[in-house]
């Protein structure tokens, strides 16, 4: 229970982190603006005070006075009248303060305009600085937020990857362990021994394929690829692959159709090609109903390239998903806790085909309508070999 609550708090904290940081930023900016606005108001007050020097004293009683009472920014003013004196519009104010009893403050219109202009200019400047401050703070917050989510996603993917690897490695080991345990402790007839040995062999092939994938991933990380590109007969290699796989997995039938006129010579590496075909066909059966067949079609489609089509009648792939399926962890994201492999098969396929100077693409008419993977390899010609 505690664990669940902790998870919820963690999720909630993560979810609200960005809006909270934005709110904090806005509060800071608002505080900054208010602080500066007060500063402007103070400047404005000081300017107002200076008006004393420009004010004309018209009080009859104290017209001879040489100094004025203090005018503070908070001193309330009451507009009495306005009139033009010496071609200047003047406003006559009564200052509602006991010190100013008997005085009338006269302010020229142009002085007011000048002060307002100064105030607006300062406000505009402060607002600009505020906007710049928000921008400068928002960018690193956004970047940190993005970094945090990318890191979180990558961590989740790695955790899911290790969970799947653990499952995919331990399951065949558990099966083989149970098989050996059974064979050594039970009296089975030869037919059953043969049947279970065949299942053990299939498990062993899956285990080997997983180990190969893990090794290829390691090699890709450090950019090491073994294998050598040579001119090979695709017909021969694919026939051999299909025959071997059909023998080991009789319930998963692969049909091979060769539309090449000759033996279809292409530039490739036999081991890499075998591994690519193994990954694609495993994938095809994984997402197809039981007893479904998978077809491999070999086509001599152009003067420079040969195409291998791996066709299934499985779940199919959404159009939006097609461009992402060769990315690392993609299948993991959509499969989650399901038994769907380590989510690296298609990524490895693309890398290995690339290593053979070829390309691979997926075509699907949508969910439930099957998928076709098309591998393009260069035709056999020594000039095409790029080491």
């Amino acid at each position: 229970m505690t664990n669940k609550i902790e998870q919820k708090i963690k999720l909630g904290t993560n979810f609200f982190l960005f809006p909270l940081s934005l709110l904090l930023l806005l509060t800071l900016a608002l505080w900054w603006l208010i602080l500066h606005r007060n500063e402007i108001e103070q400047i404005y007050g000081q300017k107002t005070k200076m008006l004393q020097l420009e004010a004309m004293l018209t009080a009859e009683r104290l017209s001879h006075a040489k100094s004025f009472p203090t005018l503070t920014e908070r001193s309330p003013l009451l507009l009495l009248r306005s009139e033009t004196i010496n071609e200047s519009d003047c406003f006559f104010y009564q200052v509602l303060s006991p010190n100013w009893a008997g005085y009338t403050l006269v302010i020229k219109n142009e002085t007011i305009l000048q002060i307002m202009e100064e105030k607006n200019r300062r406000l505009f400047m402060i607002s600009g600085e505020g906007a710049m401050l928000i921008f400068l703070l928002a960018v690193p917050i956004f970047m940190l937020h993005r970094l945090f989510w990318t890191e979180k996603k990558s961590r989740e993917n790695i955790e899911a990857f290790f969970r799947m690897v653990s499952h995919e490695l331990k399951t065949p080991v558990a099966g083989l362990n149970a098989l050996l345990d059974t064979l050594s402790s039970r009296e089975l007839d030869s037919e059953n021994v043969k049947k279970y040995a065949k299942l053990g062999l299939q498990e062993n092939v899956r285990l080997r394929s997983l180990i190969d994938n893990m090794l290829y991933l390691q090699k890709m990380d450090v950019n090491i690829f073994d294998g050598k590109l040579t001119e090979l007969s695709l017909t021969e290699k694919i026939e051999s692959f299909v025959q071997k796989r059909n023998q080991i997995f009789p319930s998963q039938k692969i049909l091979f159709e060769n539309q090449c006129n000759d033996s279809c010579m292409a530039i490739c590496d036999a081991n890499l090609l075998y591994h690519v075909l193994a990954n694609l066909t495993d994938n095809a059966f994984k997402y197809s109903p039981s007893n479904a067949t998978v077809s491999i079609l070999l086509k001599d489609s152009s003067s420079s390239a040969i195409h291998i089509h791996v066709i299934d009648q499985g779940e199919g792939i959404d159009k939006d998903d097609l461009k992402n399926i060769f990315k690392k962890f993609h299948r993991l994201e959509i499969s989650k806790n399901r038994s769907a492999g380590i989510g690296m098969g298609l990524y490895i396929v693309q890398k290995l085909v690339g290593r053979m100077n070829g390309s691979v693409e997926a075509v699907s008419r949508g969910k439930g309508k099957g998928t076709t993977f098309i591998i393009e390899l260069q035709k056999g010609n020594a000039e095409n070999i790029i080491a």
């Binding site: 362990n177 149970a178 299942l199 299939q202 038994s339």
Partner: protein, 122 residues
Amino acid sequence: MSEKILIAEDDKLISEMIKLNLEIEGYEITLVSNGATAIEQWQNNVYRLIILDVMMPEKDGMETAKEIRASDKKTPILLLTSLSETKSKVQGLDAGADDYLTKPFELEELYARVRALIRRKK
């Protein structure tokens, strides 16, 4: 009359091995390969024990255990999984399982757990 056990496991070899050995031990086994079919079987039959693999297609073991447990508090559920961390075990037991066995396991241990769970129900 032999005790009926429902097994949902998508790995052919493990499921066949468990089925064979538990049948030899005297149990009657129904074998399915995913959670959805396991629920169908459980709805139409009475079992003394349900053995579920955690990672299965269509509906995983955790979801299946939760769904069964929502209306059946009595039938013992044993989870089989390759996930050995405490977090996964806690999740499995919280989902409604009564016991948890991590792969790879010894068949002797499986028989002992099956006997214990069936005995407890009696």
